[in-house]
Subunit: 410 residues, 2 copies
């Protein structure tokens, strides 16, 4: 069973807006075993939108249209869908009354233009919208179905969950979908793909999708079967073969981000953490503290941007800075030791490097980063050179630091 | 003149990927005065893609297709476009040789499947790709034009800039486009829209687009005219009326982010800055240090997550913590003073709050944040309550802190 998603609205054709509703809708449709065959974005043009809806309905069993249900003349989705279906529109006093009551609750008077939102396509079911004025519409035409949904995500999502999902479940062929999400740190996408594509290419079920961010790759497996045991067996089989090839590069089998995995491990071992950041300037701590409940293990840290701060706050020996420079193994280790001593934490991570665009030298070009880790047994350091712009160098530094701590805690 | 953008690739129909190339392409097309009339995403299906290309060419003068130029059987864009145009494909030995040479430079042998990438649509111009193996194609059909571009942004963007833009400039009707981008901090989108929509609704030229992120709104004005003076006069007129209504809520007239505006002002006044962060855990410093050259004014900071850290590292009086709690004006001010004294900076910003999801009380519910600012003349503090989840509360705290510093520096 196939679906198509159409987003209506000229603002979605500007350089700064993307239709993100379709990601949510795709995930939910896939959960039912319904694949998305195409997506389209159309401006506020009734002829164009109506032609796009007609074409989509000719090809796919499910068509979802988002946006264009507002009260202004730009909002043409009701009319376009009616035209595509060759049906009429009729005014519904009860819907108009409900919109009026909603305005009254906010101590406002309904504008005349909101009456447009009370028109319903002949034969459509009305989908209530507790989060806005525009009701949705659900229309079945033989074995095909089209739903018109409001554009704002805060209105579309609850309406889809409560009104469309139960209706789709009735018409979608029964299927069990099971998913698995591996996350991998510290591998270029091409290296990872070369390793595991010989495995996943052998299977059309589960479907494998690879998503790469700097230093962080997600591998999604989605199995679609008639029975649960079958889906789980498939995932187990392909998952085991992927794990064999990636080993401890995999940091999560459940899709959590690295800071969550590291945080859980710190909590489990009763350890605490502090940080000393130079070039990442707070980005490492920001990642760690984005996890709710991190105060169980995160104590705090030091942003030691200047040499003076490194010396004054973390007691880094000025002779080390003189001899090795701020971006060096000796200074990274001294920073980690200083943070650990100042805070009394079990572990301390430090980052010092040249994030660029300026500041590089021949010996230490832009992208050179040294990470230090001080723990109860030892202090260690790692030197890397990351390619790319300032943002990328900083993001890769943070990801690498977290992954080094993960391995130390393993 | 209208354009349509088609993204080819089944991976773009999964729940986790969006076609972001179209944003870049839309911005560049708009710069030439070409509007985007529709966008589509199609999977690796030659029939479907060829029909989509044919429909788009029947409606719009410019059609851009991204993706599907790779070497595998999933890559069907060349074939689909040839079919849509009713033209043949021919093998080009010179392209094949260039691909082979590219592999050789990386010390690798070209696979047999890469020969697919050396096929060219009859009558097409070949667009060289210095960043990958897949060349692009440019085909004119009467007054219409279609360009096939590689999917990876790092290949598509330079190819579009160097090959497509000059060709499009030749065929686009002459027009002058001038833009203006205001940025506004600390206003809800609905309040802002209520203030300025009576202005911008009066103009269809310039086109106004509003883009809202938590605590940060961008207002884009785009004027399209026959002459430069006319476009600038229009922007001047609408811009002045918008500025009258927003006043000093506007922090930038050139679209730079807040951290850049604040950084420039610190540099101009020869001031330096340090931070003391509790609930934002590094996010404030991360924003400040994301600007290249920030070491001219940013000295460093302290992530004082626990009460003990606040006392030990920043000399916050334990009696204050006891009497007022960590989230209080007294503690925020003491944190800022402590950071300023420890670092010797001109200004110090502090943030302490309840980011949630846990930790709220009746007197200090989740979202309560106090920001402190210590400077040469005085120390001040501001209390806010932000609604939303942990990420939003933290992002709004950082934005508010930066905006308070901006106003202090004004």
């Amino acid at each position: 069973m196939n679906a198509e998603i159409i987003a209506a609205g000229s603002e979605l054709l500007t350089p700064a807006r993307l239709d993100t509703n379709s990601l949510f809708l795709t995930a939910r449709l896939n959960d039912l075993g319904i694949e998305v065959a195409a997506k389209a974005v159309v401006g506020d043009d009734v002829d164009r939108l109506s032609a796009t809806i007609r074409d989509a309905m000719a090809r796919s069993e499910v068509v979802l249209v988002s946006g264009g249900l507002g009260p202004t003349e730009d909002d043409v989705t009701r009319e376009a869908a009616a035209r595509a279906l060759g049906r009429g529109l009729h005014f519904r006093q009860d819907i108009c009354d409900a919109i009026e009551a909603r305005f009254a609750r906010m101590n406002r008077r309904m504008s005349e233009i909101n009456r447009r939102q009370a028109y319903v396509i002949d034969g459509a079911e009305v989908l209530p919208n507790p989060n806005g004025t525009a009701p949705g519409l659900w229309i079945e035409e033989g074995a095909r179905v089209i739903a018109l949904l409001p554009g704002p995500p805060a209105e579309l999502k609850p309406m889809f969950e409560s009104e469309c999902l139960p209706r789709l479940r009735r018409i979608a062929p029964p299927a069990v979908i099971r998913t698995l999400c591996y996350r991998v740190a510290g591998m270029p996408e091409s290296d990872l793909d070369q390793l595991i594509s010989p495995v996943y290419r052998q299977y059309s079920n589960p479907v494998t999708t690879i998503l790469a961010a700097p230093g962080d790759i997600q591998i999604h497996l989605r199995a679609r079967c008639g029975a649960e045991a079958e889906a789980e067996k498939l995932l187990e089989e392909v998952g085991r073969r992927i794990e064999e090839r990636l080993g401890d590069k995999i940091y999560s089998r459940r899709g959590e981000p690295l800071e969550e995995v590291v945080g859980r491990r710190l909590r489990e071992t009763g350890s605490t953490l502090s940080v000393a950041e130079s070039c990442t300037g707070g980005m490492l701590a920001e990642r760690i503290t984005s996890v709710p409940g991190n105060s169980d293990y995160f104590i705090g840290g030091f942003l030691v941007y200047t040499n003076q701060m490194k010396t004054r706050i973390l007691s880094v020996d000025p002779a080390l800075l003189e001899r090795h420079g701020a971006v060096s193994e000796a200074v990274a280790e001294a920073m980690a030791c200083g943070a650990r001593e100042r805070t009394g934490s079990t572990f301390a991570l430090s980052v010092t490097g040249v994030a660029g665009p300026a500041g590089g030298t021949e010996a230490k070009p832009v992208g050179t980063v040294v990470i230090g880790l001080a723990g109860p047994q030892q202090v260690r350091s790692w030197r890397s050179r990351f390619l790319g712009g300032r943002d990328r160098v900083r993001a890769l530094s943070v990801q690498t630091a977290l992954d080094l701590l993960r391995r130390a805690l393993a």
